[in-house]
């Protein structure tokens, strides 16, 4: 009877463990659900862009013939490769090599910031504005909304970098870093679609 009692308590403890202390698992699941939902905003913008592009008679505002693609391509390469960099950072953290993690996280941030800088340079040199017809509107909307996500990603990385100096921060897993990394990959994938839609399909 007493052994049964002990086993029973063990089972109950296991159940509790699973239910309550699987917070990281829940958070990860929830975060993925959130990202899927977030992607629908981009999908709706993309759908809008495609519809406008195929139906509006005067697509480019007067004086504009197309978009320059050289600098944005470099930007794209930087952003996409940063996805691999943050993956390496995550591997370092996985192996408990904190300094390697910090270094590569910093590199990711630098690449993300370079991307944003490149965007800013491109924006400032463009001959059209957000009010220049549907083309101007969708261009700035898509790149701007994506840029906000890049900025959010960088801020999350800064937060993760700061938190990595908190002692025992990774005792209970590193969901935060995983989420940041996931978010960064998401931002990357969105950019690739965006790049194809805006720059390649002209």
């Amino acid at each position: 009877m007493t052994t049964e009692r002990a086993i029973a308590q063990q089972v109950e403890a296991g159940v509790r463990q699973e239910q309550e202390h699987d917070e990281a698992g829940n958070s990860k699941f929830g975060f993925i659900v959130f990202l899927l939902s977030e992607s629908v905003i981009f999908l709706s913008f993309f759908a809008g862009y495609i519809i406008y592009k195929t139906t509006v008679p005067d697509w480019y505002p007067p004086g504009v013939t197309g978009l320059e693609t050289r600098d944005p391509t470099i930007n794209t390469i930087v952003l996409v490769s940063s996805s691999f960099v943050i993956y390496v950072a995550e591997r370092f953290l996985h192996d408990k090599k904190l300094w390697g993690f910090r270094l590569f996280l910093l590199a990711t941030m630098a690449m993300g910031s370079y991307f944003l800088y490149g965007q800013a340079v491109e924006w400032s040199s463009l001959p059209f504005s957000v009010t220049s017809g549907v083309f101007g509107g969708t261009f700035y909307l898509l790149t701007g909304f994506h840029g906000l996500h890049v900025l959010t990603g960088i801020l999350l990385q800064v937060l993760m970098l700061i938190r990595s100096f908190v002692p025992d921060n990774y005792e209970r897993g590193y969901f935060g870093v995983e989420a940041t990394s996931l978010f960064w990959h998401f931002v990357d994938v969105i950019w690739i679609i965006l790049f194809i839609l805006i720059y390649v399909w002209q």
Binding site: L36, V40, G48
Partner: protein
């Protein structure tokens, strides 16, 4: 009487955090207890229900005569805009989220939602939305006057020239409500998928939980599209971009696609939990298992899928091409199939049962009968040629009010009465409840039935004045509207007085089967002292089979 597993589990009351108040004051704190948040949602949204109802009664006052003589046309337009917005974003959505919040963790045997703090934040956005909506009455130019659709170009017209106008506040409020709903959606989906009690497989999960899951999935895929449209509308309004502004080369029809891609499925976000409530209430008060439980549960998800491809039926009279009209006509009509499955299942559930006409049962039955009618007129509206005549007429208004008031609000009342003993530990007054039901049912019929003939005769919706030929039906509808206003009085009286001094209800006054009925009323913080292990499907009325393993030893001996 024969269900032996209904012994309550004894627990000591815990606190959400040290020093948290254990009385009514906890409803005014940033509590993370899902039950407190649930009640906060319900009570707050009921307040806005009264606000939206007041708007509608002023409108019915205007419409009792053909001329625009009670309020100015701008006021009338503002009123129907705010009536729709308040009723949807501040009453129906939040009250159902509140019910889900209260019930889902209890029903699946969890101690709380997956993300309690996120939950509390989601709730506290609702009062902000409410304040923004109502504050728009105070800005120059008044509140948004473009209807709850906010179709451009009307929504982009800004007579005062101020950037902070009613439309701006409206978009802001809707955006905040959207953020709250998406956070809620993430929370619900995670909770339901990840936190069901051991043994609670999908086909042991109550139909209400299925319905909430199906509804919240719609929020997650649909709301972002509306958000996208709203962002573009806001940019058009403030920065002068040209997405939807025809004079600047934009396409106002595209907005309609964005809007309805979410806002039609949004109807299912509201009606699915109502279906879930019917599926829970009927078996308890008819003492019979839910007929075809698996099919009813799964049909909720089928509705989620189909509802993603029906939105153009709101635009049959817009400049949509013919193929689009035909395609969306067929998808729209297909919704009748899963809805029909549910209705037939409910009728079969009560058939041959031991029916007790308690107040929640009356509301559930009334709701189902109204839903049946609304579903049939919905098929009319799905047909393109008929819709070309009745689109944007009072026929549509009558139809969707039958859905929203006749079915959904009735279901909400049913749920509140049904789980009132669980939430408060006290019993409501049956007589007042039945009076409330009678007034509500009659009021619904008197208000919304006459709208159908008015619409068939060609009375457009959203008019502040109309031709005298429609006067007869409008007088009836106005009288019914005032009756509906009166009908809330016995409800409020009942809730307040029985919460304060109602008879003690006990833990399971309905002798219902379900995890939420196994614990004390009101349930303690963290709900379950010991997470139950579910060993059978729900609604096992008429059998002796227990729902949960009575204790762990037994479970161990059963599964060596």
């Amino acid at each position: 009487m024969t269900n032996i597993s209904l012994e309550p589990i004894n627990v000591t009351r815990g606190q959400p955090y040290p020093g948290a108040p254990d009385n009514w004051r906890r409803f005014f704190t940033f509590s993370t207890d899902h039950k407190v948040i649930g009640i906060q949602y319900i009570v707050t949204s009921f307040f806005f229900f009264l606000v939206g109802g007041t708007f509608s009664m002023i409108m019915r006052g205007e419409l009792i005569t053909p001329d625009a003589d009670l309020v100015d046309r701008t006021v009338y337009n503002a009123l129907f805009t705010m009536h729709g917005s308040v009723m949807l974003f501040l009453w129906t959505f939040p009250v159902l989220v509140g019910l889900g919040n209260y019930l889902v963790p209890l029903m699946i045997g969890a101690r709380d939602m997956a993300f309690p703090r996120l939950n509390a934040i989601s709730f506290w956005m609702i009062p902000v939305v409410g304040v923004l909506m109502l504050a728009s009455f105070l800005v120059p130019g008044g509140p948004s006057q473009s209807g709850w659709w906010a179709y451009p170009p009307v929504s982009l017209q800004n007579p005062t020239g101020n950037i902070i106008n009613g439309q701006f506040l409206w978009i802001l409020a809707v955006a905040i409500s959207g953020v709250s709903s998406i956070m809620g959606g993430v929370n619900f989906v995670t909770t339901i998928v990840k936190m069901r009690a051991p043994g609670m497989t999908w086909f042991r999960t109550p139909a209400f939980v299925w319905a909430v899951l199906a509804a919240q999935l719609i929020q997650l895929y649909g709301l972002p599209a509306l958000t996208g449209g709203a962002v573009m509308l806001l940019l058009d309004l403030t920065l002068g971009t040209s997405f939807f502004a025809p004079e600047r080369g934009g396409n106002p029809i595209l907005y309609q696609h964005f809007f309805w891609f979410y806002s039609h499925p949004a109807v299912y976000v509201m009606v699915l939990p109502a279906f879930g409530i019917f599926s829970e209430v009927l078996p308890v008060h008819a003492r019979k298992p839910l007929f075809g439980y698996r099919v009813i549960a799964a049909s909720s998800l089928l509705i989620t899928v189909i509802s993603g491809a029906v939105w153009v039926h709101h635009m049959f009279a817009s400049a949509t091409p013919g193929w689009m009209r035909m395609f969306f006509m067929v998808t729209t009509m297909l919704v009748a199939v899963p809805s029909g499955i549910k209705v037939f299942g409910w009728v079969a559930t009560i058939w041959g049962g031991k029916i007790r006409l308690t107040t929640p049962m009356l509301f559930a039955l009334g709701g189902i009968s109204n839903w049946l009618f609304a579903g049939i007129t919905g098929i009319f509206l799905g047909s393109v040629p008929i819709d070309i005549h009745v689109n944007n007429t009072y026929f549509v208004v009558g139809h969707f009010h039958y859905v929203l008031y006749g079915a959904i609000v009735m279901a909400i009342y049913a749920a509140i009465y049904h789980w009132f003993p669980k939430m408060t530990g006290r019993m409501y007054y049956e007589g007042l409840g039945k009076l409330h039901f009678a007034l509500t049912y009659l009021g619904t019929a008197l208000t919304f039935l006459p709208m159908h003939p008015a619409g068939l005769m060609g009375m457009p919706r959203r008019v502040a004045s109309y031709d005298p030929e429609f006067a007869y039906w409008n007088v009836l509808a106005s009288l019914g509207g005032f009756l509906l206003g009166m009908s809330t009085l016995p409800f409020i009286l009942n809730m307040v007085s029985s919460w304060i001094r109602g008879a003690k209800a006990g833990d399971n006054p309905w002798r219902a089967i379900g995890l939420e009925w196994l614990i004390s009323s009101p349930p303690p913080v963290e709900n379950f002292e010991e997470i139950p292990t579910v060993i059978s499907p729900p609604y096992r009325y008429g059998t002796d089979e227990p729902l949960v393993a009575t204790n762990l030893q037994q479970e161990l001996t059963q599964t060596p």
